[in-house]
Each structure stands twice: as C-alpha cells, then as structure tokens.
Symmetry: C2
Subunit: 147 residues, 2 copies
DNA sequence: AATCCTTTAATAACTATTATCATCTGATAA
DNA sequence: TTATCAGATGATAATAGTTATTAAAGGATT
C-alpha cells in the first residue's frame, strides 16, 4: 500500500474510533488502489490474495462500517430491490436517501447536461440520467417530529 | 383501467408479440396508474388485490419480459449487487448497460446541473448525481467482433 | 498476566430472485 | 365455435446475495 493511502487510512480509522486492523487495511486498499467500483464479492476475492483466511462476512461488515462512518458511500441506493420505470417521457428521478422512494421529476425542471471535452475513448453514450438525492417530505416530517 | 391505458397496453403487446393476458394487464396497470417506482414485491401486493391467485414468479417474469421488450426500463442497473464508492472528490459515473461496470468521470467533464423552477415542496436536496449510461469500450469491442 | 472490549472466521439463517415443470389460456385457423 | 398448440401461469424448489450468530482471537489498558 502506498504510504499516502496508509496514512489516510489510519487517520480515518482514528477519526471514527475504529481499530485499524489488517483486514480493514486491505479492504480499504482494494477499494482505493484501483479504478472502478466493485461488488463485495469482488473485493473479497481481491483481499483474499493477501489474506487467504479472510471471511466474506468480514468484508461485508467492514464495508457497512465504513459506509456508516461516512468513509465511503454507496453508488446506488437501490441495491437489493429491483425498480421498474414505466414512464417513457424523458424525466429525472427524485430519490429519498432515507426511505429510498423514487419519484419522477419533470425533464424541464433541470437544465440539460452539457458535455465538456470528451468521454473516454470507446465509450458509446446512450443517455444521461440525473438523480436528485435528498430527503423526501414524509421522511423530513418524521425526522423533525422526533426532536 | 382507463381506456387509454388499456389501448396502449394492447398496442404494446401486439407490437412485441406478447399475449395480452389478464395478469400482464394488471401488472402493467399497477406500474402506470400510480406515481412512484415500486419493487416487484409491492407490485405483486397491488395486483393481488384484483387477482388473488397470481404468483410472485409471474410478476417477476413479466417485468423481465416487459423490460426485455423495451416496454419498460430499469431504474437502476445495479440492483442485485452492492457497489461502494471510495472516491471522495465530486465526480460522475460512467455506467455500462451491458456489463454494468462503473467508472469515474471527472467532475468537470460535465457542466453543472441547473435547477429550473422548484423541487416538490418538502424535498430537502442533498446532491445531484449524474450517471452517463452507455456501452463501454470492452463491450463495444465484443459486440462488433460477433458481426 | 488478567481483564475488557472489539474484531474476526465460520457458518447458519434470511431475503430477493430465478429456474423448473405440470397445468392452463389466448390466439389462430378450421 | 371449437380444436389446436405455442406460450403463459402458479406452485414451489433452487440459487445468489446479504445479514445474523457465536465462539474464539486480538489488542489495549491496567
């Protein structure tokens, strides 16, 4: 692991009062040291090369721990549940990060996406999708109620 | 079901050579007749009120059929696998609709999202996420090879 | 070294989804 | 209409992805 990455890892663990274990170090490294966003299974396979006895559950648990601590974030808030879109008109999505509800947002509510420069060579563009993430009315209400 | 929706449904089934069954009609209606994007389980519960003997497998199978035919589309291409993001700098994602790989796109590659008008009242905005969907280099190569 | 609290590995349990298969239905043509 | 049959359905077994449980190990503090 690069010294810089290592230091960052130690700092983050300290900040969130997490033990800086060997396993966590390797999991963190597997995430940061290469491009792309891998599944827990893929991360497990990667870490296994250094720590053959690591358990898949440990990978899951630490990923959750990291996300919970805010050290990492989820790419999609909808893993674990398949959602279908029957709206054929161009539109965007409002996504509640609490209850994960999805509602449509009129296409014209947002300005068009503008491409500056080029996409990586070979990538064939199909469309842009904008997700507006935040907290929906119901969840906001539920939260303020509690205080 | 509204006559308009019903006609649209018949038309779509015909276009894709699918039998216009009761079950499909009710599933389609459950999707189009209300706002929001529901999980297969939620759609199943909804359809069950009209067709108590419908099977959950039928719901899944037809949703897949509809998506495959292009009558509907998936909200997120990453249901079924949890993806983690370790990149803390603001950035966007290139998503391959074939192999589902995700790669980072520099924040400045795209212009800023502009909000025209207002979001629905009560929605507390956290951030905009842009997904650039298309076919990655590897998958494009694999496809052209076959022809 | 003894104690306490956290983390780990192994694996059982659970949830979402898909496959299998016997039965039934819708579309077509007689 | 009815007969026919490819395609669709319902029941349920199987699988994949994820989470919970628990005994043992680690490591910090006294």
């Amino acid at each position: 692991m690069r010294r810089e990455t290592y230091n960052e890892f130690r700092r983050l663990c300290q900040k969130h009062s997490l033990a800086a274990t060997h396993q966590r170090q390797k999991i963190y490294e597997a995430l940061v040291s290469r491009p792309g966003h891998y599944s827990p299974e893929e991360i497990y396979e990667q870490v296994k090369q250094d720590l053959p006895s690591i358990s898949l559950a440990t990978v899951y648990k630490n990923l959750k721990t990291f996300v919970h601590a805010g050290m990492l974030c989820e790419v999609s808030p909808h893993h674990g549940s398949w959602r279908i879109d029957a709206n054929h008109h161009p539109h965007h999505h409002l996504v509640c990060t609490r209850c994960r509800s999805i509602t449509d947002l009129d296409f014209d509510s947002l300005g068009p996406v503008k491409l500056r420069g080029k996409l990586p060579s070979g990538f064939r563009l199909e469309k842009f999708t904008i997700e507006v993430r935040g907290v929906c009315k119901a969840c906001t209400a539920a939260e303020t109620k509690q205080h």
